[in-house]
Assembly symmetry: C2
Homo-oligomer: 138 residues x 2
DNA sequence: GGTAAAAAAGACAAAAACGGTCTTAAAGGG
DNA sequence: CCCTTTAAGACCGTTTTTGTCTTTTTTACC
């Protein structure tokens, strides 16, 4: 349970690859795809969602490609994961305003809330810089 | 992302309902299903997996039904969730023996490990007794 | 301006997972 | 033997995942 999808995995691999490049260097999707072992067209889609959120910048045409939208130290793993997987919601109760339907009876609610917060906190605490440099955080 | 499935939700609702009964009382699946708003045949399946793991005991025939396999205080939320959803694996890296394929490069690995441990710890810390009594733990 | 190179956008599709249902069997009580 | 209830497993429609393919747009360069 609670498994990251391939998309999430690919997203991380791809953007970490970008984070490893010298700042300002523009990289082709094809290069990232090959280097990370991710299907190119799929990765392209992922990078498009990154671009919409400003996590990466993109340039079209000859000499085009992608680079990080801001310094690697300013991009958290949470932002990356949520960009492609959506918000961290371990249970439906937590999606809207505690809309369990069975709110009063839902004693599990606070447990999911806590899990949600813990995961968020951990992912917030890791930046692309950490990942690119292989920092031993834990 | 990281969402509990319906099966997981139903499983919790169902077994918590059992935990609320007076110990030793045998309850029909049909009653639990109606009380918790879970499709009966689906819930029956879920209870079957519980039975295999000893989380509940079952009796067939007239007067049959289900009851907890041990005291509610001895059943953790983790056991319930893992019974129906499988082990807590936020990332494929963590499933086998760190079988990332790309092990050395996988700097995210420790992050998922930590998330896995945090979730496990939280779920381990909640028993069916807590849930049945609506204990405010967090 | 024309052409080639790239990303953007969106339609499409196979495969797997989800969320069940249905049927048959087995066991127990009266 | 018959009724009740769980056990087991086949089955099935829908949604999500995991992509691909095609067309369009933008840009650089000649």
């Amino acid at each position: 349970m609670m498994e990251l999808t391939r998309k999430g995995e690919y997203a991380i691999r791809g953007i970490v690859y970008l984070a490893k490049q010298s700042p300002g260097k523009v990289i082709l999707v094809s290069e990232v795809a090959e280097a990370t072992g991710v299907p190119q067209t799929f990765l392209a889609k992922i990078f498009q969602s990154f671009a919409k959120l400003g996590l990466v910048n993109s340039f079209r045409g000859t000499g085009g490609g992608f680079l990080l939208g801001r310094p690697a130290a300013k991009i958290t793993l949470r932002q990356v994961v949520e960009a492609v997987e959506g918000p961290i919601i371990p249970n439906r109760c937590l999606s809207d305003e505690g809309n369990c339907g069975r709110t009063s009876e839902c004693t599990v609610h606070p447990v999911w809330r806590r899990i949600q917060e813990e995961i968020a906190a951990i992912l917030d605490g890791v930046t692309l810089e950490d990942l690119a440099k292989g920092k031993k955080s834990l």
